[in-house]
Symmetry: D2
Subunit: 355 residues, 4 copies
């Protein structure tokens, strides 16, 4: 009698995987979490307590999970290195896919997911850029589209994590693709969203330092970096990424148009509380991206579910995720080489000997 619910599996039960699994289990009334995969024993143990009792079947083999009867969609939240492979397998098994960003740390591998998806146009395949589901970013987009700021021309955005002195990010740098691919991918995706998905990158250049984690250099990574992305047509995005914030997560964006400006989170807050105490007035801010974007992740899960069930239109094209990886990789390369990297209007790398 009750309406059908989307049968969802979750691949990966690490930090984000747990959150995705619980969101689909508890927050998405139109979805049913029916399966979860992880090769990790500790994660299996966690799932035996938090998922299995609610009817979620657990797998240590991804391919086996895909065979589960009735499964309709897979959320991929494993390590980035297997995103593309698992996404392609799920597509081939005729499942809708919500894949954590990035598709891959390589442009060509990312493109292979798009190619696979193109062969199954009835499937919903989305790369989860959570900020697209954030109420404030959406409000900014609505305002921009209403003409409130004229033509968007300069875009500033930053993804800045709180300092984690544990050394986690040094280990993580081995497979993260680097700070521009891991952090700034969000800002790049936002730039493509606000400037238009068909914006063509013209050049990138960047610089980075290791202010607190010199060991990152062993992995060709940095802990603070800035970059400039020029687009054809007279648009510029400039970005900052950091893993060194003291106060908390500081992800903020400015969209500067010819007749106005919109900002998102340039005055971060956790909530509506202010603390008056000796030393002044203080407000707390979220300590990580999930504190900032929790609601966006929930909305992402709901809207993905709605799209799958109702054959709706996804809020963004999968090909944009390839473009974002391409720009992120170029920024990372420019940071290490010191070179400015140029693209022609078809998107191909261009050597400018004279530069």
């Amino acid at each position: 009698m009750s309406p059908p619910r989307l049968q969802v599996a979750c691949a990966g039960l690490g930090r984000m995987g747990k959150r995705h699994a619980l969101n689909f289990l508890e927050k998405v009334t139109r979805a049913e979490l029916v399966a979860a995969f992880t090769p990790d024993d500790a994660e299996i143990a966690w799932a035996q307590v938090h998922l299995e009792p609610f009817g979620v079947k657990l797998y240590k083999d991804y391919d086996e999970m895909l065979l589960q009867q009735g499964l309709q969609a897979v959320v991929i939240a494993t390590v980035t290195t297997v995103h593309a492979e698992q996404a392609i397998k799920a597509i081939q098994a005729d499942k809708h896919v919500l894949c954590e960003k990035p598709l891959s740390t390589s442009e060509s591998v990312s493109q292979s997911v798009v190619t696979a998806a193109a062969k199954k146009p009835h499937l919903k395949v989305m790369c989860g850029f959570s900020r697209r589901f954030d109420a404030s970013y959406r409000d900014a987009m609505d305002k921009m589209e209403s003409g409130m700021i004229g033509r968007p021309s300069i875009f500033r955005s930053q993804t800045c994590d709180v300092l984690d002195p544990s050394g986690f990010f040094v280990a993580y740098a081995q497979f993260s693709g680097g700070i521009f691919v891991d952090c700034s991918i969000h800002d790049i995706d936002l730039a493509l969203w606000f400037f238009g998905q068909d914006s063509q990158v013209k050049s990138v250049v960047s610089s980075g330092i290791t202010a607190v984690q010199p060991d990152l250099r062993a992995h060709n990574d940095r802990d603070n970096a800035v970059g400039i992305i020029e687009f054809y047509g007279g648009k510029i995005a400039y970005i900052f990424c950091s893993r060194m914030m003291a106060a908390g997560q500081e992800d903020s964006t400015e969209i500067i148009g010819t007749s106005g400006k919109l900002t998102v989170n340039t005055q971060p807050v956790s909530n509506l509380v202010n603390i008056y105490e000796p030393g002044g007035i203080r407000r707390e801010i979220p300590q990580n991206y999930y504190g900032r974007f929790r609601e966006a992740f929930e909305r992402e899960a709901k809207e993905f579910t709605d799209c799958c069930l109702d054959d709706g239109r996804l809020p963004m094209k999968l090909s944009g995720a390839v473009q974002a990886v391409k720009i992120g990789c170029a920024l990372q390369e420019a940071m290490i080489s010191g070179k400015k990297i140029w693209f022609d209007t078809t998107g191909s790398r261009m050597e400018r000997a004279q530069m």
Copy 2:
């Protein structure tokens, strides 16, 4: 196989009733909306579209609804004048009750609900003061309880609605109990929460004006009013209520302690967007209390459900709702009479001839 869900009915499908019904239908995974009551044809028509298709049985007779097989809980969102009667009937029918505020515009009628509930201690009976479920108020309470501001001593709070030029509030004033009972009841409840539920009121005094709606005077009401509530033990709450705001809903609170202060929403915002335009920098704010407290209402529904299913402890005592009505009525009376009203330490009215 899936866990049991609380079988809930919603009485009243007006502005708040619709919201409660949809919250239980769509947002509370552990509850199932199974019935709804309204005597109003237009509301029935709405429910035939939005509720009935999802298995919700509709009633035009409240008593009949209470007889529905398996019903476990009732949400009462009808007009205030029938809150108490319907709550008592539900209690007598052995249903858990979540009743919109206020229980009644009369202290004695409100008390009759408490008396009825006291006879059925296994039932969860709650008056829905939504701000108790707001993340920012809860954060402020946690911080106060951690000792961050010393002993709370002065409490300022306001409930200020946006100007509604339609004349709605003039008609509404006939049965709302007046601005202190309708609006300030939230601030009074917050004062009792932050000062402690056993705080004893010592005196109230207030003043009001009709700045934009002179017709309110016909119903002994005002559109702007301020009041002072003294509590025994050296604590003072002062409040402001208004139906004349230009920018939007402005519900804000300050808790001033002997060594610090906490504020909630003294800088209202809708979201994290700022608009830079000729004339300066602007931020939008919620246009009504639901825009401000939507999440709190959802959390209220969820926590009420959890309490019912798990025999948990409600976050507040029902008797506090009587105390709030008592203080609200006294403020309303003081505003009309011009008198200061005194209470002795047992809570009884005291005549101070010399005052």
Copy 3:
């Protein structure tokens, strides 16, 4: 050859006296500080270092100072108890007068200064309500006068000092007139300014506590108090005064009109710096009223000088200062007696036996 400068004397060299003296010495190019009076040896010693070398003649006798050749104006910054007497003497000696607030802690004594000044209409006699010279308050007034908020109807204002654990305020309470006369006098003056100087008070009521300084009770004073002032014509001011702030000076004001609202300093700041640190984002705020109003005091000195030299019009009438004292005294009395105090439309106290 250079234009004539106003010859000014400063009476009193305590905390504010020193500031006034230095302002006239260093900041007012059209004035010349030529004399200073104080009965206090320590203050004389200070003046021998900071004033005498720049041509300022020092006096231990006020009357003698008034005889100094060429003296044109006197700034009175002595203890409140001698303000009126010294002002009257200066007026009688044909000097312009800038008197620190309040004229006196008594309405009738304050009135005697107005009466004396009325006999010398060519003199500029002003009570120094510094906030009238603050750029933000002036901007708010300009905006209100331009019609930006419709008809001002509700006025909220507070003067809140940082906690001074030294016990200074207990001793000071003996002659300050109490917290409403000492602190709130500014808020009352602002209410009279924004509501119109001819506003007639209808009633006052107030409540106070001693949250941190119980010894204030010996002087019939309190450390935190709130009050309501009703004016004839449907206007209400409500105020809060405190000597218990943790973060710093918090003097803020809201002017609520029928179609908009203006606020002044509801988000206090010292400057434009924000500090991001573990625990969140912090801004410092001024630690005392001089930190908040330093520029206003300088502007007050300059404008008073200009008025004297150019026979200009003072920005406010002296009689307003009497009205402010009257309301402040009534609030103080109401706080101690618990009574609500009524006034008829001529400003006379009214007994309302029935109240």
Copy 4:
């Protein structure tokens, strides 16, 4: 009897010249404006009204003015193209010099002023970077020096003017040196201040667009630009300059350290007023740099005067002004050429063929 005052002349009476002249005339009690030069008839006419009556002698010949008996100091506020020549002449005539920024739009010409000044070490020669005198920037510097943010590592700063649709900036671009030299020079100077005056630039790169003033391209200028400045030692400044702001002047700065962050004016305000109106809450912001930095200019005039009279130490070295011009010119060149420009550790340009 009164203490000696610095005899000051003002060269140039354009927009800034007028302000400097009036500041020295009215705000600096220790200075006396005795002369002013301008070749412009309209400016002479203005000066005949506003300066001459107060004893200021007017000149249409700069050299003649330098000969005026008793003259001790010259403020140079003429067009940038003559700054250096006039500064050198004044130095050679043994006058102290306060020169508006920049010294020149050329590094070598700027250096010639430093060289001239070095021969007269008894003279105070300062390039007026007004932000060094701003209370908020000074507070940020004090906090940084106290160790509050650890080691400064990333510096973000922007100088953003309100849109001027008159076409003024197109004409102005002919001699301004371009947007990086005209606007960003302040941000570059701040970077040198916060990173340390001896910071060595390693590379610069930049990009610009003409979003609203395409005619700027004729002068090799842009209306919006971003740049990255790398310094040896692992420090990066990134900057944004614009002439297209809708809301007003937006000059803001972030200093990001290894353990904290300081921001200056990231939430611009004109004053402490907020406006609540339909559409939300609005605050006004300064409309031009003088609205933002008026007090800083006054403090600059005062401190320069004090230094001259008391043989004090100037708050910054003149050589820094050359460094700022050098970096500004490099950014401008990089913007036009698209090239990244490298410097070796001695400050010389470096060709990196491979780049």
